[in-house]
């Protein structure tokens, strides 16, 4: 009979109106400035540079190997390596700019970085008026502490710290083994000489 | 004005009906003069056609078939105009008047049914 379809539709909308008072699922509104949606741990927006210890610049993990600059699809990272007085390259970036107005938030820089120096942040309230200087973020604004990294992404941060500790330990063993081998090589010649 | 003439309320209604829209229009005119000047320009008043420059004009002859809708609407509208005073006073009218008005309404309804039957209202 004409109209039963529409009545059935009205029943559905009525179910939703009444349901919105009882079921949490039917009232999904999040009152933005007061309460925010709790973003998941994996959520990524813009990259940031991780530094160990509590002083940003000396503790920066980035050795300016420029792999992320090459691999970044929209090419929005710009690195210049630090050079000390006799023009020898130093493992530290003098200039590390990311153009947030071009960055496509893909996370490839964090994925390809061999030193875990750049990770993905989850801040998204960056609306501003000036585009030229506001969104061109230099290394001072980019650098955030490892402690902050632990706050926003605990599991990922622990895994990264575990890996770094593992590498350090292996490096020390290798260094000790090399030192022992060098000592062993240095020790026999004097005995052979006498 | 001890006993106001019965038509006085018409004058008051007319005055209020006139003043009520004029106040906001006057305020708007005042606002334009003092604060935000009107700046009409060729680009702003260009014809809006989904963001494109509209070529060709929209003043063109429509299909003649559409005049039928106008005529059917006209008949029913005029009938409504006659019904309004009747509706206002039909309680105090004798039964003869009601039958006459019924006859009038049925006549127009019959015309509408005929037009519908002949398919004038089909949206070809």
């Amino acid at each position: 009979m004409l109209g039963t379809g529409i009545l059935r539709g009205l029943k559905e909308t009525a179910r939703n109106v009444i349901g919105s008072f009882r079921e949490k699922d039917r009232l999904p509104t999040v009152m933005y400035p007061e309460e925010t949606v709790k973003t998941k741990e994996n959520f990524r927006t813009f990259p940031f540079l991780v530094y160990d210890g509590d002083h940003a610049m000396p503790g920066l993990r980035c050795v300016s190997c420029r792999i992320c600059e090459k691999e970044c699809p929209p090419q929005c990272i710009f690195i210049i390596q630090e050079r000390d007085e006799n023009n020898k390259a130093v493992k530290h970036p003098r200039v590390f700019d990311i153009d947030f107005s071009v960055c496509m938030q893909c996370g490839i820089c964090a994925e390809v970085c061999p030193f875990d120096a750049i990770k993905m942040d989850n801040i998204y309230e960056l609306a501003g008026e000036d585009r030229f200087t506001g969104l061109l973020v230099d290394k001072h604004r980019l650098a955030k502490s490892n402690h902050y990294y632990h706050q926003i992404k605990p599991t990922e941060a622990n895994e990264v710290d575990g890996r770094l500790a593992e590498d350090k330990r292996k490096a020390e063993e290798a260094a000790k083994a090399k030192a022992a081998a060098a000592a062993a090589k240095a020790a026999p010649p004097p005995t052979a000489a006498t | 004005m001890d006993n106001p003439s019965p038509y006085w309320f018409l004058v008051v209604f007319g005055a209020v009906a006139l003043v009520f829209p004029l106040i906001p229009l006057g305020l708007a005119r005042l606002w334009f003069l003092v604060f935000s000047p009107q700046k009409p320009s060729k680009e702003k008043n260009a014809v809006y056609e989904c963001g494109l420059e509209s070529k060709g004009d929209s003043w063109l002859q429509m299909k003649v078939h559409y005049y039928l809708y106008a005529i059917v609407f006209l008949i029913v509208d005029v009938e409504a105009v006659f019904l309004i005073p009747f509706a206002a006073a039909y309680a105090s009218l004798p039964i003869g008047a009601i039958v006459a008005m019924l006859f009038f309404v049925l006549l127009v309804a019959e015309g509408l049914v005929w037009a519908w039957g002949r398919g004038f209202l089909e949206w070809k």
Partner: protein, 208 residues
């Protein structure tokens, strides 16, 4: 409006008496009912629609009425990649909007061409032809980032004053709100950018 006046107004407001100036009333009305133009270009448009849906609910900021025609809109959210073929239409729509009009450049593509910057048919940012009030970076920015940008715009509208020298351009008769519409050239738009609006600073070339 000294500090003391501010405090007295707060106290009076608490006891139910509202004192305001014409300017505050004018800006309060305008900032809380910004009607956006229904203008979705690409992926950011889906996040704009998601922002207008029940979960992020742009209606709480007075902007859920997305007007299809530019005649009734006073905010243009450029959400998506502005290509060179679409740029004249964007500028023409901006011109056809009534005067107090604002522009939000939502997403990396609208600000600077974003990931598609090296494309031959992509405009490197809409602020080459029309003035942009708020930039929202992200690709696409979360719906909350759009709401944050909208609150930023509302803040900016509240601070505009009604008279005096730096009143907004829609209250001045000398500044026209329209910008020339670029034409299609042989391989690019003519002119490539509008110098009145597009004033980039000196490009940083140090150390190249």
């Amino acid at each position: 409006m000294t500090e003391a006046d501010e405090k007295t107004i707060q106290d009076l407001r608490r006891s139910g008496i509202l004192l305001t100036t014409l300017e505050d009333l004018y800006n309060w009305g305008r900032s809380n009912s910004v009607w956006p133009l229904q203008f979705g270009l690409a992926c950011c448009a889906i996040e704009m629609i998601a922002a207008s849906m029940s979960r992020f609910d742009i209606a709480r900021f007075g902007s859920e009425v997305f007007r299809p025609s530019p005649r009734q809109a006073d905010l243009m959210i450029v959400s998506g990649t502005v290509t060179k073929k679409m740029a004249p239409q964007v500028v023409r729509l901006y011109n056809q909007m009534p005067e107090p009009k604002y522009v939000i450049a939502m997403g990396a593509c609208a600000i600077s061409g974003g990931p598609f910057k090296q494309g031959y048919n992509v405009l490197k940012g809409i602020d080459r032809y029309i003035p942009v009030d708020v930039h929202i970076p992200g690709c696409p920015p979360r719906p909350e980032a759009l709401l944050n940008g909208l609150m930023e715009l509302q803040e900016k509208i509240r601070e505009q004053n009604l008279t005096g020298e730096n009143r907004p351009h829609h209250l001045r008769s000398d500044v026209s709100g329209e910008f020339p519409v670029p034409e299609f050239g042989a391989c690019d738009l003519e002119p490539p950018s509008n110098p009145a609006v597009w004033t980039p600073p000196e490009p940083i070339r140090e150390g190249l």
